[in-house]
């Protein structure tokens, strides 16, 4: 039995919303970054569902490109976050308030 494409799209939209809310309510940059990754992977689910619907290989290639870009993003993001909080007691974006206005 195959599930209809729209079901995948609904799950994908829910995952994307959970990720977006997670970014907005959490204060720890690592958790925020995990929530962002959830958003990206929710989109991947949509892309694969569309690609299956259309029998289009371009959708699968899109997913591979997104996965590679996400890996690069993780490498860079973790470096920056670790660098910042090496000299701080706690990892909390609310303490990043040297600049305002």
């Amino acid at each position: 039995m195959t599930l209809p494409t729209v079901d995948f799209l609904v799950v994908s939209a829910l995952l994307f919303a959970i990720g977006a809310v997670g970014v907005m309510v959490r204060k720890n940059p690592l958790i925020m970054f995990m929530a962002i990754e959830l958003m990206w992977n929710a989109v991947n689910l949509s892309l694969v569902a569309f690609a299956r619907q259309f029998q289009a290989i371009s959708g699968h290639i899109f997913v591979f490109v997104v996965v590679v870009a996400a890996a690069a993003e993780v490498a860079i993001g973790l470096i920056i976050i670790v660098l910042v909080f090496r000299h701080r007691d706690q990892a909390d974006v609310d303490t990043l308030n040297a600049m305002k206005g």
Partner: protein
Amino acid sequence: MNLPLIVPPQVAFSLISPDLALLVTSVVILAVALFLAPEQGIRWLAWLAAAGILVAAGSDVILLLGSQLPATTFSGSLVMDPLAEVLDLVILAAALLAVLLAANRPEASPDYLALTLWSAIGMMVLVSAHDLIVLFLAVEVLSLPLYILCAFRPDRPTSLEAAVKYFLLGAFSSGFLLYGLALLFGVSGGTNLTQVAAALATVGSASLFGHGAIGTALIAEVGIGLVVVGLGFKLAAVPFHQWVPDVYEGAPTSVVTFMSVGTKVAAFGVLARLVDTVFVGSAVDWQGLLSALAVATILAGAVLAIPQQNFKRLLGYSGILNAGYLVAVLVVGSQAATAAGVYFLVTYALMNLGAFAVISAVSGGEMEGVMIRRYRGLFYQQPWTAVAMAVFLLSLASIPPLAGFFGKLFILQALISGHQLVLALTVVAGTAITLIVYGRPLLAMFSPPDPDSPPLPKMPMAVATAIGCLAVAVVAVGLVPGAIVGLVHGVSQIGPLSGISGR
């Protein structure tokens, strides 16, 4: 599941020669750096990077003057047309100035030069992108090096704070852009913009994949909205602008110089291409969203710029304001309007690059040096620097007969001929408010100096030359506005690529 065979694309290497020049230069820089002791020879590597950028600009000009354009390559996923090539030249100018400014600074290193070149490649690919996958990849290629470049002064807490803020908000907005692109793919079943445009032209009340509740028109509308949100972040449009002032203040000045112009050019280029090839012919309302974005961006940018004490923050809000003008002109959706936007972008790049070059030279890398109070009496210490800065600020405030005035004039013409009177009035209001914004540092420069202010750092020859050239260009373009109108007129030939098919 049967998947079709992948056909290798035909590639016209001459069309991507500017990008290849930057790529080769960056690899050579990293390879040569292996054999140099640290702190040694960075001047030579900076000159090497500048030479590579000039070669790329030269091949850009050859393409512009030649008869190859417009053309597509990589199976129609990249478009090389006058729009892309003119914007490429602006991006290369920003990269060149960033390299010159960084040469004498602590942030100068082989990595810095290579990352700047890679980000420039991403921007140049983005303005040529004609495929959803290439579009997304180019946005990432331009953003990832910028995240690192913002953190290039780890000795300063503000540099790292800027990097974290830029990175988290950048990745967050990339998620929205990606979801938008995925929905456009879902409506059209193909990633090439030609396919997307064809699908969006026919969306109606038909439901998606035979499911009653979800219409294709709704999916297309949400997709376009999410794409505009994602690109609005890169363009620094309100309400996606919160990162701009902090990143402008915290990141090294040479990096801000590059990104302030480069990301704006790249985001405008891709939005203009989407509007011209996809949005205009679509059966979806896209103008309301862009109009609201433009009005909010112009008014918020202008008002928030008034109380700023830090010159880099002030120019950050000024960048938001100018992004608003660019979004406004896109609402018209005609090729003449796009040409007006490109003209405005060229003049904005000249005066903005000039202003940041002066800030970099006056501050000498000190945090205190970027405060506006530091500019008190600049005219009595370095008269020519003050005069050049006055030219840039007056041009930003659209005082005739400088370049900025004509950029604004063409935008107003495009808005009025496109019957966007509300937007035209907002542009006029924003311009009026900026007289206060740019007037304050202007008055400070020509008022008597503080007796106990420290002496200004000596300006490197290359930076002084660059500032002089930019100031002369701002005046010359203002006195002879026709000089680049001809160039920009060629840009208005873009359109829905009637002559060439996106195979």
